[in-house]
Symmetry: C2
């Protein structure tokens, strides 16, 4: 298990850097002018909030950094003192935010700790580095200035916040800054626009992306690939539409727990019917299982998969590109099985997920195994929990999956496993999930006949591989920075004639490639050749095929690879073999 | 152009048979006891409504038929007389329904015609056959008894209706009866149940089918085939979800003309937003066209296709199996083009539709070309109508399509062509459609830049090939009586071991077939071999592969073809070639 961030040296470095930043800023104003609020370490750095006589401007940051470096050089010790509330109030008499914090303490007798470096003292629990020199003066950077309400309450005064970051080494800082820059370049909203993949329209509604031909091709290829893989693993696909009567969600329990996130009801008052857009598939798949008639233990496991677009009425402020949408197409599956089949089915699902994530080069992932905690919310059936938990642990270990356990993180209906995959920039995404459900099958009255001719309720495993097509597409746009592997590129080859006399041969090349299932596109537009080449490059097309006299005469194409490498004249037969090999290899 | 039914000899035969049936029935009761209402020819026969002192029972039909044959033998002439209303009232004094009809005539001075055969006179416009002997006594049949309200109004008295049918020859009658019988056997609701393709659930809602793994496979194969064909024809696919803000339909005009058939609104009163499930794709595709930015004439035509599930709130009484549903997945396409491109695009769409219908052996079809009439509802732009109509006629003729024109049947927004395809029983289905739209593109503000750098509104062609996946599936279930061509069969081969010792080889055969994309299913259930063979036969699986010692030793399978023919032991390599050839041939 990894060390907790809160216990790490990095955390201390950032925390101490925040104090040093506050000291540096204080030096830039007259005594008493700077009112300090709070300054904690955060995920990728630290910040500090201040009330100041004037607004900060970006060039202030340079000056603060300079002063910070000087303080660091001073090698000042971080000295901890423990005082009473009364002493602390005296110490911070001219710092109203600190006073408010001290006065707000519930335990009036608590020991309050102060940390001092050089001439600057802060109210602080610690811990800190030993001396300011423990911070590498070349491994920190102030990032930005922002407004922030005192205590996050918009009725309070607005303070000025400075964000900074710090690492143990300059190389780590460089790497972090590069990743930030790279993440900005790869932002799927930006890349999606550049590649023309999707649009949002006020006429249709927030959070409902419209996919262009290229964007739809990506969706289609992704879903086809998962479908094919699911079929290989013995999954069946079903179809259950986009809505159900609200009563079904009353029965399943979703109406009670989930109505916040459902789209508004569709009510036919005359007929007394209320419909809801599906926010999930489980009750629909379970209804189909029931409608199909009596099931025998011999029929189990049954695995129902569906690429159904679900609708969730997320708050408009929380919508973000493709990663938080209102229309999401889950690659959802429900596995109906006996309790004894849990381990095998879980194991099969693990293998399937691993195979799919590999295909997208998401090879670095770990699994959070969420188990029940002490709270009362969990289904009260010790035997089921114990057996299922043992089955999941065993499957994870047999498959050599890197996992960690999180107690109290299970759903109320059973334990679950969530995949956290790291992308090319090392960012973690929660994608795939496998959840055991002891509850819904019973609520909806599902049964099968056992070998002993008894009626039993099946266990259901909920499982998603990529999560949703939309969100996963957002993630892989950033993962590949829009330069998708050949198999996934909406356009695999752009054909560019040098002059119009080469057009007929270009058309022939396009047709031959298309007949082989290679997504070729002939750029017969009015732009000049160099412009067309630049366009293909910007569109991150894997192969640009330029065709002139020489190519026509030898049934060749001049191949320019994505990234700019000129492969030169290549016989059509060779190019076809090359492209097909890349597609097959998943490159 | 075919003779109109109303002018045909068949129409007269049926009309006269109705009179003879009324006479025969009158003979079975005491004078004055039978009150005759009306008795017209209908699509496949005729009926007559009566008020009678007792309820008819099925065996009455036999007796009536016997009496009818006697009347026919009598060779009675059908004599027409023309009388005044007063004379008619006197003639039918004891027939209250006839009196009501005569008194209801608007033109009090109209000449009223009566037809008499033998001793039976009816109020009737005609025409009739010359004598009762013109009806072949072996070419008519009484079909059923039903209740029917006088004048179709449920507040009126309920009469008894007898349905009958008549043809020119006994062979035609036989053929008709066979088709009725066959249609009953092929009813897609019945076959769908037998093959386990889909279910309806009260929990989900009327008219929303749930598709089992087999049913979903059919949907998937159908949609994949159309998608592939569309791609070959240069169509692009897009994705626009299942709902839009209601305002969009106010702009497009659908809210005004189409709200009856929309699902109830989803209203977020707090935010003042109203959403509607999409009953059609056009406004969504046009919105995407706009969002994609400026378009040049060089970009046109653009063809946006989508398999989107649409929702129409059909009245529950009108729902019927898959052919009238509330959730329908259209294979919808919108072609954005210039006025000059209409003929070429229409022609391309005709070819695509023809190719797809052929694949389903719907080779006998004709096209109704619907043109504008005199009414004021049509868009007032003579030039556009004239030009578009000429383009459509020219394309139909160049493609050798059998078509007829229907004036006044166009949509208000432009002319259209509807395909009426005949199935294996000769029944006509309206499936594909191509519609020209001069209106919506303008309403929604679509433009492109012309060669002269001017802004112009594109023409849009709406086009559907199979119509909707659900309805088309209903039609082809009946077309093939559930015995789908091999390429479309959800299960293509069932593998049956003679005993358990053959199971491992069976698994190997299953895997080899599946790896080649052949949908094989190993029946490893507990039934005996013969039961398994019968099940496969009932499930209309194209190939049943039986495996015992002999097969295992020679890497063969014993092939039983659908319909029962025993092909005998076949080397695996040969069977694979056979199945692949059948799939490729579309058999």
């Amino acid at each position: 298990m990894a060390e907790k961030y809160e216990d790490s040296q990095l955390y201390k470095i950032r925390h101490s850097a925040a104090h040093i930043m506050a000291q540096a800023l204080t030096q830039m104003f007259r005594p008493g002018e700077v009112k300090v609020a709070i300054g904690p370490p955060i995920e990728n750095g630290f910040y500090y909030d201040f009330e100041l006589p004037r607004s900060l401007v970006p060039k202030d940051l340079k000056q603060i950094e300079k002063r910070m470096k000087k303080i660091i050089k001073g090698d000042y010790e971080f000295v901890r003192r423990e005082v009473s509330a009364a002493e602390a109030l005296e110490e911070f008499a001219d710092q109203p935010y600190k006073v408010e914090l001290i006065e707000g303490l519930e335990d009036k007798d608590a020991v309050i700790s102060l940390y001092t470096q050089d001439k600057f003292t802060d109210l602080c629990k610690g811990p800190h580095v030993a001396t300011t020199k423990d911070i590498d003066p070349n491994a920190f950077k102030l990032m930005s200035i922002a407004g922030a309400y005192w205590r996050g309450d918009e009725n309070n005064i607005q303070l000025q916040r400075i964000y900074g970051t710090a690492f143990e080494t300059p190389e780590e800082l460089e790497n972090h800054l590069w990743r930030l820059e790279e993440a900005k370049k790869r932002d799927h909203r930006k890349v999606g626009k550049e590649l023309g993949l999707f649009h949002f329209s006020d006429d249709v509604g927030s959070g409902i992306p419209l996919f262009t031909p290229k964007g739809e091709m990506l969706r289609y290829l992704m879903e086809s690939y998962v479908r094919e893989t699911q079929t290989k693993y013995g999954y069946d696909h079903v179809w259950t539409g986009n809505l159900v009567k609200e009563d079904l969600y009353a029965k399943s329990g979703h109406l009670e727990n989930y109505s916040d996130v459902m789209f508004p009801v569709m009510e036919d008052a005359d007929k007394g019917v209320r419909f809801r857009l599906k926010p999930m598939n489980c009750p629909s798949h379970m209804t189909l299982f029931k409608e199909m008639g009596k099931h025998s233990y011999r029929d189990l496991p049954m695995r129902f998969a569906e690429f159904s677009t679900l609708y969730r009425y997320e708050k408009s402020g929380e919508l973000s590109g493709l990663t938080r949408v209102r229309s999401l197409t889950q690659d959802d599956c429900h596995i109906f099985c006996t309790a004894d089949q849990i381990e095998e089915e879980f194991s099969l699902a693990l293998q399937l997920i691993t195979e799919v994530l590999d295909r997208y080069k998401l090879t670095d992932y770990k699994v959070q195994l969420s188990l029940r905690g002490d709270e009362g919310k969990y289904v009260d059936d010790n035997e089921k929990w114990t057996k299922a938990t043992a089955a999941l642990r065993s499957a994870l270990e047999k498959n050599g999956v890197d996992y960690f356990e999180a107690e109290g993180e299970a759903a109320f209906y059973g334990p679950k496993a969530d995949f956290m995959a790291s992308d090319a920039l090392g960012r973690e995404w929660q994608l795939s999930t496998i959840q055991i459900d002891f509850i819904q099958p019973e609520r909806l009255g599902l049964t099968y006949v056992t070998e002993d001719n008894a009626e039993e309720t099946p266990v259901v495993l909920h499982r998603a591989v990529t999560g949703s097509t939309e969100r996963f597409l957002g993630v892989i746009i950033e993962q590949f920075a829009g330069a998708f592997p050949v198999w996934l590129s909406p356009v695999q080859a752009v054909i560019i004639p040098i002059t119009d006399v080469h057009m007929d041969y270009c058309k022939d090349v396009e047709k031959r490639l298309k007949d082989l299932g290679i997504r070729a596109y002939l750029d017969d537009g009015g732009d000049r050749m160099n412009k067309k080449i630049r366009t293909a490059e910007k569109q991150k097309v894997p192969y640009t095929l330029i065709i002139g006299d020489r190519e026509m005469e030898s049934d060749s194409v001049s191949v320019r690879l994505r990234g700019g490498e000129d492969q030169g004249a290549t016989l059509m037969a060779d190019f076809i073999a090359q492209a097909q090999a890349a597609i097959a290899a998943g490159d």
